[in-house]
Amino acid sequence: MLFNSYLFWSFFFCVFTLYWLVPKKFQNTVLLISSYAFYSFWDWRFLGLIIISTLTDFILAKKITVSPKNKNTYLYMSLTVNLGVLALFKYFGFFIEQINHLLYLIGINSFSNILHFVLPIGISFYTFQTISYTVDVYRGITKPINNILNFALYVSFFPQLVAGPIERSYKLLPQLTKVKNFKNINFTEGFYFILYGLFMKIVLADNMAIVSNGIYNQNIESLMGVDIIVGTYAFAFQIYGDFSGYSLIAIGVSKLFGIDLMRNFKVPYISTNPSEFWRRWHISLSSWLKDYLYIPLGGNKAGIKITYKNLLITMLLGGLWHGANWTFIFWGLFHGLILIAYKAYDYKFKVKLLVRRNPLYQILQTFFFFHLICISWIFFRSETIIDAYKILIQILYNFSFSSDTLGMMGMILFFVAPIFVYEYWDERKNHSSFNERSLSSVMLFSNYCIFMIILFQAPTFQEFIYFQF
């Protein structure tokens, strides 16, 4: 049941109507049943995993506060169950494959992998969300919740169940327990985010997919270097539109239930450096990694070398979170390395604030950094590391145009330029809340989205890229 399907919107309409019609004490029950129904629509067999994860963390978090002496044990138990399930379903096959490969290299017969797991949709997202709850209870940031129904909803809330944003317990749980009033719902805001998200997915991402798939599905040796670069630009905007589109729809849908979810993207491609990029890209994951991995490892408090090591570990695991493939590990490694390189550059040269604020310097930095991000997307998009290597070689040694370069650039400009200008303008306004936006700008942008969705939606729907993670 994709967000960009009529089926989902029919489902949403039924849930929305029911949610506001039933007595308030049953609202969360409606949402929980709907969330389980939504997940079952993908694959009912994996509903058991969500329930296991829910029960484990509900019980263990309670035990952490009941017997503080053993809180370390309970935390490790929670981590073992959650990460164990994640490892089993997501990484087991990959590691067996790598071990077999190593055994083969040293001349030992490999053992066959008799277990083949189907990856449960959204497992990486809800696992991280439940872990954050237990860790927050362990740290004393969140009090354990007594109502299992509310906690089950926290784990499985359908708008953000399969692709985030990964919410924090201290932000989402109080909202779930609060009584919601229909009169307080800001429908304009909800529909604004829904239209915005649909535009990002159906118009931007799916049209950019035509360009990027058109390039990346070809035989690499037959491609021109400039075409690959243009195809990679298209992929950069495809993945941005795809993922931010999903998050925006999730935010919009949740608003209509009276629940606020965090913004997951803030115009990431205007970033001038990697630290800024990770404050703008997949914010819910990058802040999760920072709070539950980077800082516990020591963060930047233990000297420059330890900081670099921590950055590298965090980004490598961030890469691995995306999937069991060397391409994602290299993607994470590459981001770790550029984070270190930028930190080292800043540390060594201490670039003056005055220079940093120079608009020309910022444009050059943004341009340069965008291309670094594009290099990382080559690893992300390629099927194998060898493919990524071949693509990079092809760009370097066959740097020429084809007759299609202009057409592809035209498509990217047509679909990306208006939304980029709008997002940049909106970002510069720095609104602290939605209501600070003028109604005319909201209406104008919403109408633009409606027309683009009707007239320029891509001929074929693409699945959300992040569903595979």
Partner: protein, 286 residues
């Protein structure tokens, strides 16, 4: 409100969107002309048949056909031709003596129904027949909504035409998108059911009931192509049907084509003369 305004604007301006819409609106007039011969095809027919020359040649060949109604709707294939003939002619008891369907490559296969096909079908089928069409085509939930939206809103119905007009402003857009589409899930549209000839069967069934003579004509393309044996066996299985082919014709060279698909005026003249001869003689090449 916005949609209503757009609908009103499109109501007055849709004819300017494409010649295809003007032609679509002229089908009603064709039905009133009491043509004994109807030719249905797509842009290959539009570019490939010189209407005046065809009538002249039919008269020279001393056939009974003094005039012919030619319907050529862009990007259409068997499913659209079926609904055009059914909705405009068959169900209105307008029965020509001869029906000619011009096709090329795999255009007699039933394609997977995507929005483009559904929006075109919606413009041919009357409102009262929409439900029956949904049932007949076993449309899923999304397809049904697409069909109804295309029927009731011009902005949905003309979506492809408007977007193509705008995107054509991008330099090299058409040629680029054609190449990119080859690598975007290639062959998906026909691969799912590679030998689905449901609508070919249905149109043959229709002409058999109405006693119409049906000729399938394989149009010339710059590169010769073969016709699926299944198609030939289906057509040969009906006494009312004949198939003639220019698909492997050596008369047409690159000189006769304006692009990778369509004949130029010289090519059209050559084709029309041969076409008129062949349909007069009712020769089957297969």
């Amino acid at each position: 409100m916005l949609l209503i305004i757009t609908e009103i604007i499109l109501f007055f301006t849709e004819d300017f969107l494409s010649k295809d819409i003007q032609h679509l609106k002229s089908i009603d007039n064709i039905t009133k002309e009491n043509n004994e011969m109807i030719i249905i095809g797509n842009s290959l027919t539009r570019k490939g048949i010189n209407e005046t020359l065809l009538i002249k040649n039919l008269k020279t060949n001393k056939t009974n056909y003094k005039k012919a109604g030619i319907i050529y709707l862009d990007d259409t294939s068997i499913i659209e031709w079926y609904y055009v003939f059914k909705s405009y002619f068959y169900e209105n008891d307008i029965i020509p003596k001869k029906l000619i369907i011009n096709f090329a490559l795999n255009q007699l296969r039933t394609p997977e129904l995507e929005f483009e096909e559904l929006s075109r079908i919606a413009s041919y089928v009357p409102i009262k027949k929409l439900y029956a069409t949904c049932e007949q085509e076993t449309l899923n939930f999304s397809q049904k909504i697409d069909l109804y939206l295309a029927k009731f809103f011009r902005i949905f119905c003309h979506r492809e035409r408007i977007s193509k007009r705008v995107l054509d402003l991008i330099p090299n857009y058409r040629s680029t998108i054609r190449k990119l589409n080859v690598y975007n899930k290639p062959k998906k549209k026909y691969f799912k059911n590679n030998h689905d000839y449901r609508h070919l069967d249905k149109i043959i069934e229709m002409v058999e009931i109405a006693g119409i003579e049906l000729i399938f004509c394989a149009m010339p393309l710059p590169e010769s192509y073969t016709i699926d044996k299944k198609i030939i066996s289906i057509i040969k299985g009906s006494d009312n049907c004949t198939i003639i082919g220019f698909n492997e014709d050596n008369y047409f060279t690159d000189y006769h084509f304006v692009d990778g698909y369509h004949l130029n005026p010289e090519g059209a003249q050559l084709f029309t003369e041969s076409f008129a001869d062949m349909i007069s003689n009712k020769v089957s090449q297969f």
